[in-house]
Subunit: 346 residues, 4 copies
Amino acid sequence: MTPPRPMRFMSDNTATVCPEILAGIAEANRGLAVAYGDDPWTQRLDSVLGAFFGTTVRAFPVATGTAANALALATLTPPYGAIFAHHEAHIACDECGAPGFFCGGAQLVLLEGEHGKLSAGTLARAIEEHPVSVHTVQPAAVSVSQASELGGTYRPEEIAALCTVAHTRGLKVHMDGARFANAVAFLGCHPGDVTWRAGIDVLSFGATKNGALAAEAVVFFDPALVRDFELRRKRAGHLLSKSRFVSAQLLAYLEAGLWRRNAEHANRLARRLGEAAGSRLLNPVEANEVFVRLGEAGRQALRAAGFEFYDWGAPTSGLARLVTSWDQSERDVEALCAALGDLPGD
Amino acid sequence: MTPPRPMRFMSDNTATVCPEILAGIAEANRGLAVAYGDDPWTQRLDSVLGAFFGTTVRAFPVATGTAANALALATLTPPYGAIFAHHEAHIACDECGAPGFFCGGAQLVLLEGEHGKLSAGTLARAIEEHPVSVHTVQPAAVSVSQASELGGTYRPEEIAALCTVAHTRGLKVHMDGARFANAVAFLGCHPGDVTWRAGIDVLSFGATKNGALAAEAVVFFDPALVRDFELRRKRAGHLLSKSRFVSAQLLAYLEAGLWRRNAEHANRLARRLGEAAGSRLLNPVEANEVFVRLGEAGRQALRAAGFEFYDWGAPTSGLARLVTSWDQSERDVEALCAALGDLPGD
Amino acid sequence: MTPPRPMRFMSDNTATVCPEILAGIAEANRGLAVAYGDDPWTQRLDSVLGAFFGTTVRAFPVATGTAANALALATLTPPYGAIFAHHEAHIACDECGAPGFFCGGAQLVLLEGEHGKLSAGTLARAIEEHPVSVHTVQPAAVSVSQASELGGTYRPEEIAALCTVAHTRGLKVHMDGARFANAVAFLGCHPGDVTWRAGIDVLSFGATKNGALAAEAVVFFDPALVRDFELRRKRAGHLLSKSRFVSAQLLAYLEAGLWRRNAEHANRLARRLGEAAGSRLLNPVEANEVFVRLGEAGRQALRAAGFEFYDWGAPTSGLARLVTSWDQSERDVEALCAALGDLPGD
Amino acid sequence: MTPPRPMRFMSDNTATVCPEILAGIAEANRGLAVAYGDDPWTQRLDSVLGAFFGTTVRAFPVATGTAANALALATLTPPYGAIFAHHEAHIACDECGAPGFFCGGAQLVLLEGEHGKLSAGTLARAIEEHPVSVHTVQPAAVSVSQASELGGTYRPEEIAALCTVAHTRGLKVHMDGARFANAVAFLGCHPGDVTWRAGIDVLSFGATKNGALAAEAVVFFDPALVRDFELRRKRAGHLLSKSRFVSAQLLAYLEAGLWRRNAEHANRLARRLGEAAGSRLLNPVEANEVFVRLGEAGRQALRAAGFEFYDWGAPTSGLARLVTSWDQSERDVEALCAALGDLPGD
C-alpha cells in the first residue's frame, strides 16, 4: 500500500512560481543590461507601481519579505527607536531579530489585538504610556501587517485611524504587505485605500507568497527616505546585480493582473475551508489563512490522512494553521473539507 | 514665606558619595600607576570580590549600571539571541535599548511576574513556548534584578529554581545587582547564596546607588566569558584609563563594610515609610523602594509639602515611587511618614 | 545616421542568464516544496558541492555576493575583530560597508599587493605589526579574492602560504570567489586545490557573474561555523522562502559543467583583449578582466565608437577596466581588439 | 642593592588626579542632586565651556575619551558612512573598533600625513578619489587629533583649510582633543581659534590625561546634533547617574585655569626631553609627547636604568615614545635627559 500523497497546507511559500512570472523572467533575459537596478525593467517599477497605487511612488525590488520589512523599518527608526507592533507580527516572531539588526538595536514594543490586528486605541494608549525621557527607547515607527498573521484584514478606516494616532505623535507607519494582494482582493478596495490614502508611509509589497519566485518591492509614499534606503539595501547585500530579473517578476505580477487572480484563488479556497471548519474556526477568514481548533486527536487524524500543516500557538493548544496558495489544488481542499467534517465533534 | 526645602525621594542616584569612598579615591591618588586596569587597586578586585562571594571570581570595574548590564548580557547573547526578563526590568525600560545595542540586535522577551520578579514557572513556560527554529531569536540569557524594580527581593531558592530552568535549557543567567547590597541586607544571607551558589553566571554588582561616586563591578562566576568581555568593554569606551579610581571605590565599599551599613540605613527608612503608608502600600518593602497608591490628590498634596518623587505607571495611575538612599535624612522620612498619615483615607 | 550599437564591457553582471540555468529553474517549478531550504534541491547542495570540491562541505545558497561575503566573514569575526584584505578588495570598496554591518563593527585592515593579490609575506608582517592588546581590534580573519579584483589569480601554493600564515596566528581564511570559476578555469587545477586543500575555511562560491540569475553558495569546509551562519543568514533576510530556485541554479551550474564552459569563454575573450592591448596592458590577464592604460583621449575614442566600460582608479588616471562575460559577443571583442590597435601609440 | 625606582614615561594616563580637581569633587558632594545631568554642576557646563571657547556651545560630560570620540562620530556618520582620519589616529589604532561599533558599521578611510597630521591636500584628494556610488561607504566625517598622536599640533589655518575641504564636500569635522590643552598651550592661541572659528563641528575635549580623574566633554558647536547625541550616550551607558562629579571636574579644570597650568608643565618637560634627544628626535615636540630613535640597545639601556616607556612602531623599529604628564617629576626628566645624553651616538 502506498502512503497517501501529501496535501500541503503549510505555507504559501511552498507554492510554485506562476508561469506568467517565469515567462516574464525569460523575456527579460535578452541582451546585456546595466547591473544593480539601472536596467529598463527596474526603471519601470516606479511608474507601474505608481499606477497601481494611484500616486507617485518610489519602489525598490528585494528578494525577501524579511529584507523588505527590516530595511523599511531601518529607514524609519533610529538605533534608539521603538517600533510598535502586534505581538504576533512576523517582524516580532519570524525574522530572527532582523529589525534589531537592521535598525542597529531598536526595540520592539509588542501589543495585543484581535485577529492579529492593532487597534488605534491600543496604539494610542501604548504610545502615551511609553515614558518620555532619555532613558527609554524613543517611539519612532508602527508596523502593521496587511493581511495580519492571523488572517485578518484591516479596513481602510482602521488603517487611517492607526496612522492618525501615529502621525500626530511623530511616528511613521510601515505596512508589512507580504499578503497585501490577498487583503486587497478580500476587501475589494483600491490598493491606495489601505495604503497612502490612509496614511501609510512605506509598504513591503509582497509577491513571493502569491506566485513570484522571489520578489518584493519596498514602496515609499514618502520620497524623503529613499536615499538612506538605497545605501542600507546595498550594504545589507540586498541590491541584486541582475536586478532586472526581480523587477521583471513584479512587472508581470502587476501588469497581467496576476496579483488579483492568484489572491482570489487562494482566498476562495481558504473561505471554503473556513466554512467546512464550522465551529472549529478561530478567526474570520479574510485572506488565505485559516486557523482552526482541532485538538491533538484531530491534528493527528488529519496528518494520518496526508494533510500537512503547522501547529499554532503553544504545543498543547490543539490549534492548527491552514494556508492556501495561488496554485492550491481544489481537490486537496475538497478532501480537507471532507476530512474536517468527518472529525468527531469538538 | 520661603518655599519648603525640597525633601528628595526620587532616586538613590541623587545621593552624595559616602565619605569613606571619597577617602578611598584620595588614598589611591598617590604616585604614577599603570593605566587601563593594570594598577594595584584593580588587580586586587578579584581577590576582594572573591572573598566577598566566597568563591573564585573575575571582576571588572565600570562606571555605570547600564554599561555593566549591557556588557554582561553581550557576553552571553549572540546578536540573534533572546534575553528573557521582567517587563519592568531596568534593561527593558530604562536603558534606552542598551541591550540591543551592545548585543548587536538581540531581542528582549518580556514576562509578567509579581513584585517585579520572574518565577521559575513563568520562565519555563516562556522558553518552552518560544518556537524552536531558525526563524526566531534564539533563547540565550535570562536577566533578573536583585532587588527588583518594584522593591522585591528574590530568595536564594527562587534564584536557584530560575537558574535550573535556564541552565537545563542552555541559557545563561545574568543578575542586575544595581541594588544588590539592599537585597542581601534585607535577606540577611551570604552574598554567595543569591548568586553563584544559586547558579548566577554573571552579576552587575552595583555600588553607585549605595554610596559610591560611579562604580559598578561586572563579576563573572564563569571565567570562560572574560576575554570577550574585556574587548567589548574597551570598544564600548568603558575601560577607564585611570581605572584605579573606580577600583578604589569598590575596595572601600567592600573592605570597610560600607555596602551593608549603607544598605541597612536605606532599607530601614524604606520600611518605616512602608509602615506609614499602611493600606496605600502596593508591594512588600524588601529593599529601599516603596510603591504607594496616593491618588492624584495625594500626589499633589505631598508635592505641595515639599516632597519630591516620581510618579509610577500610567499617568493617571495615582501611584508613586519613594526611594530612600544611604544618606537619607531621618527627619525627612519622619516628615513624609507624618504626611502620609495625614492624607485623607484612600 | 544611427548611433553605434552599444558594445558592453562594463561588468559580467550585465550578462544574461545562461539558458540551461533558466531551464533548471523551470524544472524545479513542479509541485509544492517545503520552504526555507528544506526542499530536495537545496538538500542536494552539500553532496553536489562536496563532489565538486572533493571533500565534505556544508553549503548554503544566497542571492548576492555581498551577502555571501559579509555573512561568511561574520561567522569568522567577532564585533571587535580585524579582517585583513587587499585594499582593492570588493569587501573594502564595493559593498558599502557590509562587513562592518554584518560583523557588528569589525574593522578592515587593508594591505598592498600586486595584481590585487595578498602575499604571505605582506600578511605575516601586517599581523605581526598589529599591536597585541585590548586597545586594538583583534586579528580574526583574512579575506582573499579568487580571481582578484585586478584580474589576477592565486596559485595553489600562494593560497597555502597565506593560509599557513593565518592559521598559525589563529586567524581563519575566507575566499571571495565571485569569479571562482574563472580562476579555476585559468589555472586548470582542481577546485579543491585552491580551497580546502590549501587551507581555506569558507568560500563565497559565485555563479551570478558567470551565467546564473542570482545564485551564490557559502561553502563551509569547517562545519563548526554552520549553525551561527544559518541564524545570521535568516536575520539578514537572506534565507529565501522559495530556496529551491536558487539551489536549482547552482545544481545546473555545477552538474552540467556550465561553470567551466562559461568561464572558459569569458577568459578566452579577455585574453584576446589582453593581447590586442599590447603595451597598454597593466596586469597579466588571468581571468575575465582586462586593465588597460588608454589615456583620456583613448577612453573617449573607444566610447565614441560604442564601447562601454568603467574608468579605473583616480579620475585622471586614464585607466580602464574591460570585463568579458559568459555571453560576450565574439564580434564585439574583435571590434574592440581592432579599436585598441587603432589607438595612437601610448 | 635595591632596584632603581621606576621613572614612568609611559602615558599621561598613569598620572595622579590634580588636587584642585579632587577638591572640586568633594565640594560637589553636598546635598541631594537630581541625577543624570539635571544637576547644577552639569547645567553650568554649557556656559563655562561657552566662555572658554568664546561662543555658544552645548557640552556633555562623559568618563572616557573613547566614549567621547565614538559618540561624537556616531552623531555625524550614518552606518554606511566613511570617516577620514590619519592612519595613526587613536580612533583607528587604540579604541578596539569603537567607531565601527557606535556608528553601526561605518568604515574608516585611513590617510598618511606628517607628524600624525592630515593635510588639506591629502584629504581633498582622498575624498575626490573616493568613488561616488551606492556601492561604497559614503564620505560623512573627518576626524583630526589635536594634538596629534605623534605629538604634532595643527595651526589654526591648517584646521581651517581641512574644514573647508570637508564642508564644501558635505562632510562634518570632529576633533579628538584628548590633549587639546597641550596643543593650545603650545600654540598660545585662543581655544576658539583651533575649533569653531576654524570650522570644527564637534570636539572631544579631554581633561583626564591632563589632571582629571575621568572627565571629558563632548562639545558641540552645531546644536542640531545634540538630541541624537543624548540618546546615543544613554544607550551606550555613558550617561552617569551622578553626573555632577564628572562635571565638577571639568568646572575645576576650566575655572581655576588648571588646563593651562598642567599642560604647560607637561609641555615644558617634553621640550626639555626633545632638546636632550638631539638628533634622535623624530618629530618636533609640540605637546607632551616625544618620539625618539633609540635603537634596541638604547631602549634596553634606558630600561635597565629604571625608565619606563612604550616602544613605538614595528617591534624592530628601535623607536620609543616618551610622554610627560601634569605631575611629572622634574628630577625624573633631568635623569632621563642625562641618560639620553649618555647613550652611544646613533
